[in-house]
């Protein structure tokens, strides 16, 4: 396979802003549409945009573009789409539509939601029970979907003799960072004892290896970099964006942890972008399961096979109880999927934008200019974004 460096959209499309409702790990009495409308209206006000300034809408299928347009009173659209998550799908489709001239300014949103499938307490809410099922049930003899991550975590531990405490560093990093994020769902400090004694869900992964089902929404404006320069916040330019998938993509048929979607993303993102891991100021690896973060660190080139846990221990900021790569690069400073909430990547991208715009409050990384977001997992949804500012 050839990896193309062709990238005609480079830096011509940008995020003008991002906003969030914050996230709750308890059932709210809100619909996904209500949460999306709150995040979107907040962002439009912050950016000084009117409803009539928007001519594109893109978000997950759980809230249709039409319902959101109707709710916000956006008079006319020339483009909309509801692709599947995770969230770099939405970003790439919106940016491509802007670059192609199908529309000029897209309102992009995501609504992480405590669907009945995720938790017993979500299942108790009758309004959630009548929502369309998002996953099959009734068959324990499968490595389908989220279970596949447990299967490969088990294999990783077996192949590299990795102590479970190394997975715990990913969870503790997120929790320590979430303490500085008022919008995070889980902010109580976490010790290694807390992690090691957490309820086992699917051996070898426990409750704290898995992201937190939350209610909440993120919203974004994607437009031309030229247009974004006229808006209040500095543009965050999309330097490169890719998805990655291999042919052996079924969870139990994946060739190995050395050959899956992450490797396609790493190769293609590196070929298309102008900067790489030594050049970034903050890093956003996906963390829907702890094993995904460990494997991203290896697959993006921070360390060798099976070495991610040792790498985290060697790059640990003992004072703040979190990862600081080379004493400089924080990892998921918003608390990630494991502590801010399971946002399928939208939280990572929102925080990346706020960091590069200098709007991350007490979490601000000094003079942050460049970042990589490596979203998604191994099988059907690996994704990458290279973002920077002037």
């Amino acid at each position: 396979m050839s990896t193309s460096s062709r990238n005609p959209m480079k830096d011509l499309v940008a995020f003008a802003g991002a906003a969030t409702t914050g996230f709750s790990a308890h059932n709210t009495d809100r619909t996904p549409l209500s949460l999306a409308a709150e995040a979107c209206s907040k962002l439009l006000r912050e950016c000084g945009l009117k409803a009539s300034d928007i001519d594109g809408i893109c978000g997950p299928s759980s809230v249709s573009a039409g319902d959101l347009q109707n709710t916000l009173g956006i008079p006319e659209l020339t483009w909309w789409s509801n692709p599947p998550i995770p969230f770099v799908n939405q970003v790439i489709q919106a940016a491509s539509a802007v670059h192609a001239g199908v529309c000029d300014t897209v309102l992009v949103y995501h609504v992480p939601y405590r669907h009945a499938f995720f938790t017993a307490s979500a299942l108790r809410d009758p309004f959630r029970r009548v929502m369309p099922a998002i996953a099959p049930g009734g068959n324990p003899d499968t490595m389908w979907g989220p279970i596949g991550y447990t299967a490969w975590a088990s294999r990783y531990i077996h192949d590299y003799n990795v102590p479970k405490e190394r997975f715990g560093l990913v969870a503790i990093n997120d929790r320590s960072n979430a303490q500085d994020n008022p919008g995070a769902a889980m902010r109580e400090p976490m010790t290694m004892d807390d992690y090691m004694s957490a309820r086992m869900v699917r051996w070898p992964l426990c409750l704290l290896d898995m992201d937190v089902p939350v209610d909440g929404a993120d919203a974004f404006i994607i437009t031309t970099t030229e247009r974004a320069r006229d808006l209040p916040f500095s543009p965050v330019m999309i330097n490169a964006a890719v998805l990655g998938m291999v042919d052996a993509n079924v969870e139990d048929q994946t060739v190995s942890l050395e050959h899956h979607g992450h490797h396609v993303v790493a190769k293609a993102l590196k070929a298309k972008s102008d900067f790489w891991i030594d050049d970034i100021d903050v890093y956003f690896p996906y963390d829907g399961f702890t094993i995904i973060t460990l494997n991203w660190l290896e697959n993006i080139g921070f360390c060798g096979r099976g070495e991610a846990g040792d790498f985290l221990a060697a790059n640990w900021d003992a004072e703040k109880n979190r990862i600081l790569i080379n004493g400089r690069i924080p990892v998921n400073p918003h608390g990630g999927a494991l502590s801010e909430g399971g946002t399928q990547g939208s939280g990572h991208i929102r925080e990346a934008i706020h960091q590069l715009q200098g709007r991350a409050g007490v979490r601000q990384v000094a003079n942050a200019r460049r970042t990589l977001v490596t979203a998604g997992g191994f099988f059907y949804n690996a994704q990458g974004l290279a973002l920077h500012r002037d």
């Binding site: 099959p136 279970i147 299967a151 088990s154 699917r202 048929q253």
Partner: protein, 149 residues
Amino acid sequence: MSRSISDSDLVSTFAHLGIDRDSAAHYAGRLEHLLLINRCGECSTYHHPPRPMCAKCWSTDVAATEVTGNGVIDLLIFLHQGPQAPGVDYSTPYPVASVALDEQAGLRFTATVIGSPNEEIAIGQRVTLDWFDRAGVPTPAFRLVGGAA
């Protein structure tokens, strides 16, 4: 392909496993305690789950073909909780294994492991195929071969 069961009965028996026309022969095989894996009639390559075409040579001459079910545990987890299924009690963690089948490198089939305490089940152990009934439906499972590998 002629079957002894109607399409309607076959679909209702396996609806919860996501049966479709491409996987129908595999599920029909289960009713006769046969583990059938799609194999290409042109280049002899196996693949799973069942697809309508061989990914190696694009032949549509693929047929559900019996395999021994002998192999080695490649992936292994124990469910401490999981979907409701007849006879599954997660109070003893429920093993699920992806087994590399002897027929072809990299070809795996996923099922539970029966007949051994969880402490004896591990990645790398040889297994053979067995069957048990779940709510009256034959269900494939693996059983450890001999002692520890």
